[in-house]
């Protein structure tokens, strides 16, 4: 039972354009949401987070949006840069556990 889904395994975007990564979840008890970025042979690196009391959080080129009614989380990267090419995981939790999506591989084309 996959509680967190990233339905797009890959995404290609031109440099300078917007990248939009999406994540859907089923558990309405989740109250903390994160995005991690992962390069090959490295562990996931924290990128940005949002709590359930907010619907938007921005950090530089990265913005996370939370739509609780739709149980949908998204990450916008604008403008996209070649160095953003990596696998992006959404993660979310509540009490004692953190659930990860399966990841989306983003390729930013120079």
């Amino acid at each position: 039972d996959q509680q967190v889904k990233q339905n797009s395994p890959s995404l290609s975007v031109q440099e300078g354009r917007i990248s939009i990564l999406n994540c859907d979840y089923t558990n309405s008890m989740f109250d903390y949401f994160l995005w991690y970025k992962k390069y090959p042979a490295e562990g996931p690196t924290f990128l940005i987070s949002i709590s359930s009391i907010k619907d938007k959080n921005e950090d530089g080129r990265f913005t996370v949006f939370l739509n609780k009614s739709a149980k949908h989380l998204s990450l916008h990267i604008v403008p996209s840069q070649p160095g953003d090419s990596a696998v992006y995981f959404c993660a979310m939790g509540g009490a004692n556990n953190l659930f990860f999506g399966t990841g989306t591989r983003l390729t930013v084309i120079p």
Partner: protein, 116 residues
């Protein structure tokens, strides 16, 4: 500030053998996690420690997996005996707050285990 350290980075063993992984969390982080990431999937929590006590080990296959954090700092994860389906990357993470959901977890580079 040093990050989460893990060793070894890679390990290849035959099925039914034993293996152990080591993790040193970020200094001062009371909470430590072990995750299993199978190829093509997201990380799955195996066990969570708060200092040297276990908070959640509900997804740890206890017949073959064990973990300890005796002094509340370093941790070891052991598999005995290993099965083919244990092939995965084992990630260690740490965070500074007690309550999951209000703090960020920082990950180590992981140990890639291959069971032949």
């Amino acid at each position: 500030e040093a990050g989460v350290a893990q060793s070894p980075r890679y390990k290849i063993i035959e099925k039914r053998q034993s293996v152990a992984f080591w993790c040193n969390p970020i200094s001062g982080h009371a909470t430590l996690y072990w995750y299993q990431q199978i190829l093509g999937q997201g990380p799955k929590l195996l066990i969570q420690f708060q200092n040297n006590g276990v908070v959640d080990d509900s997804q740890l296959p206890k017949d073959r997996f064990s973990a300890e954090r005796l002094k509340g700092v370093d941790s070891t994860l052991k598999i005995q005996p290993a099965k083919l389906e244990d092939s995965a990357v084992y990630l260690c993470a740490s965070s500074s707050l007690v309550v999951l959901g209000s703090d960020t977890q920082y990950f180590g580079p992981g140990t890639r285990l291959t069971v032949l």
